[in-house]
Each structure stands twice: as C-alpha cells, then as structure tokens.
Symmetry: C2
Subunit: 197 residues, 2 copies
C-alpha cells in the first residue's frame, strides 16, 4: 500500500520517466508538458504539483538519467577487474542497438539541450565528473587526461553514429572508437617497453 508521500513520489518518478523517454527522442523543445503528462498517464494540470517549470523538469531529467549512468559506471569500475570493467563500460556505451533505437547516453542524445540550459548544465556536472573518475579507474595508471580522451571518443562516436544515415558508417564509428579505447593501454605499454629497453 502507498502512503500519500510515496504515491506523490511515485507520480514524480512516472513523470520523470515519461519525460526522459520523450525528451530523448524529440528534444526538450520538441515535446510539450501535456505530451509528457499524457505519456505518464495523467492530465497536464497536475504537472506543477511536481515541478516548478518545464525547464526544471528538463534539468531533472538530465541529472537523473546521467546519475543512473554514473552509478552504473562506478559500480562496474569498483566491482570488476580493470580490463573487464573498461570492456563493459565501452561496450555498453557503443551498443549499436541502443544507437539505432535512440536510447543513448544524455551526453549524446540531449547534449545540445543541456549545453544551452545553464540549469541543466549544472545538474549534469556531478554525474559527469563521477563518470570521468570511474573511467580513469578503469584505465589504470595512465595520465589523468586519458579518461578525458576516452570519454570524448565515446561521446563523439555515438554522436556521429546517430547523425549518419549509413548504418555501415555508423558501425564503423562505433567499432573504431571501441578499438581505439580498448587498445589505449597497449600503446602506452609498448612505449614504456621501448623506454625501458
């Protein structure tokens, strides 16, 4: 049974989930409050009981989606061994099916919406930093910038794969990024080997 409090919280979650689905597919400006509420199974009037404005919803959706990703990465990075963790994260990110269905990371499918909204940018800051840290953990002893280039590589490949009409080219972006990141430890080891030789 639901107390009033949990029922209210559950509704909020339903709105967040509905907005996440629709915003990701159509962009924040491509979807109205009434469409979000209909998707959540309610009428639009009740929206303002849960969020002060549509902008606030956009920020909350961004934060909440990226928080989920950050938590997953952190879990993976701390529980499995390094190489396997990196594999898991990279394969999860560059999943061709996810790209085709539009269910990609906030950093790729809402990046413009977030970049243009100061409130959303701020909301996304903490999980973004957490993701960088988790990546760095998986990459091991490399310089701190290794996580930044790896994340750029992931984001760029998905963004480009989403933009191209050609399924083969899209796959090439994803595969190339995958190999580049997963082999990124190898060159540095070779270089170290050369140095120590």
């Amino acid at each position: 049974m639901s107390t009033a409090f949990t029922r209210r919280a559950e509704t909020r979650q339903k709105i967040l989930a509905a907005a996440a689905r629709l915003f990701r597919a159509h962009g924040v400006d491509g979807i109205g409050v009434d469409a979000v509420m209909r998707e959540a199974g309610m009428t639009h009037g009740g929206f303002y009981l849960h969020f002060p404005s549509k902008e606030a919803l956009a920020a909350e959706v961004s934060r909440s989606l990226l928080d989920d990703a950050a938590r997953r990465w952190e879990m993976v990075a701390t529980t499995t061994d390094r190489g396997e963790a990196l594999n898991n994260i990279v394969d999860g990110y560059l999943d061709a099916e996810k790209v085709a269905s539009g269910g990609t990371c906030v950093l790729t499918c809402l990046c413009n919406d977030v970049a243009r909204r100061p409130v959303a940018r701020e909301a996304v800051d903490a999980p973004l930093r957490s993701m960088i840290q988790s990546l760095q953990k998986c990459l091991g002893e490399q310089e701190p910038k290794a996580s930044l280039t790896a994340l750029s590589q992931l984001v760029g490949a998905v963004v480009l794969a989403r933009m191209t009409d050609d399924q083969q080219l899209a796959d090439k972006f994803l595969n190339a990024a995958r190999e580049a990141i997963l082999s990124s430890e190898a060159p540095s080891q070779i270089a170290a080997g050369v140095e120590s030789a």
Copy 2:
C-alpha cells in the same frame, strides 16, 4: 547592380545566414520562422518564397554550414603539408573561443537536431564524408579507421566542453583531444619502429 535573379539569391543567403546564427544558438525548435526573417531584416511572410518549409530550411542550414567546413578542410588538406594541415584542422576545431561563443561545428552544435531529422541527416551526408576523407589525407598512411577515431575525438571533446559549466574542465577536454590526435602518428611510428627492430 543586382539583377532580379541575384537579388533573390542574395535574400536566400541572408535567410540562411540568419537561420544559421539563430539555430546554432537556440536549436531548430527554439527559433521560429518569424525570428529568422526578422534577423534577416524582413517580415516572415516572404519566407515561403525561398524555402518550402521550416524543416527544409533546417536541412539547408545544416548542409550549407557543414559544406563550408568540408571545403575548408579539403583546401587545407590539399594545399599544406600533412603535419601542418592536421594542426590547422585540429586547432580550428578545438578553438576554445569558438566553443565559448557557441560558434562550433554543426556536428557538435546541431548534432541532435540533425540526428532527429532524416532530411537533415541526408543533407549532411556528403560534407561529412568529405571531412573524413580530408582528415584521412592529413593522417597519412594510417589505417582508414584513424580518421574516424580522430573525428570522434574532435566532436566528442567539443560536445563535452560545451556541456560543462567549468571552463577549466572544458579546456582540459579540448587540450586532451588536441594532444591525442596530434600525437596519434607518433605511436604508430614507434610501433612500426619496434616491429622492424
């Protein structure tokens, strides 16, 4: 003096330029046809003399902006020597001021708008392929996927730099990408050296 034909064409260009400015800053769905026409110095009614719909305008803006970039890259790649050309392209793409002012590449500042619009995706196809080819030319003898990872690195770094509130972190994304791409020939040469040793 302008003949009727060139005046018409000039107006079309003015509309395209105005739309480019506003779409890049606010997204296609964040700007109306009347705002575009006002920015171009006209009233909104005349818009349909030049474009059949707002969607067509969005596609044309995407194509035209990316065509400009593609032409610049091709020129650079064919006129200057390899290393310098790569430097030029990478520095131009990762310009921190451009990122701060919002005047970045279509692939980063309109990526979601393009990805969601089949017509715009198609319009962007040719210049995108041209850019990949120019990049590959600059990268020299490396495997064909080198241009794909380099482009992903460029796009991802700018997308992430635009999304973060922290100017320092933004710069780190840009600098890390710059170093990663510009040093990308070195490791392969080292590897080749190791192999032949």
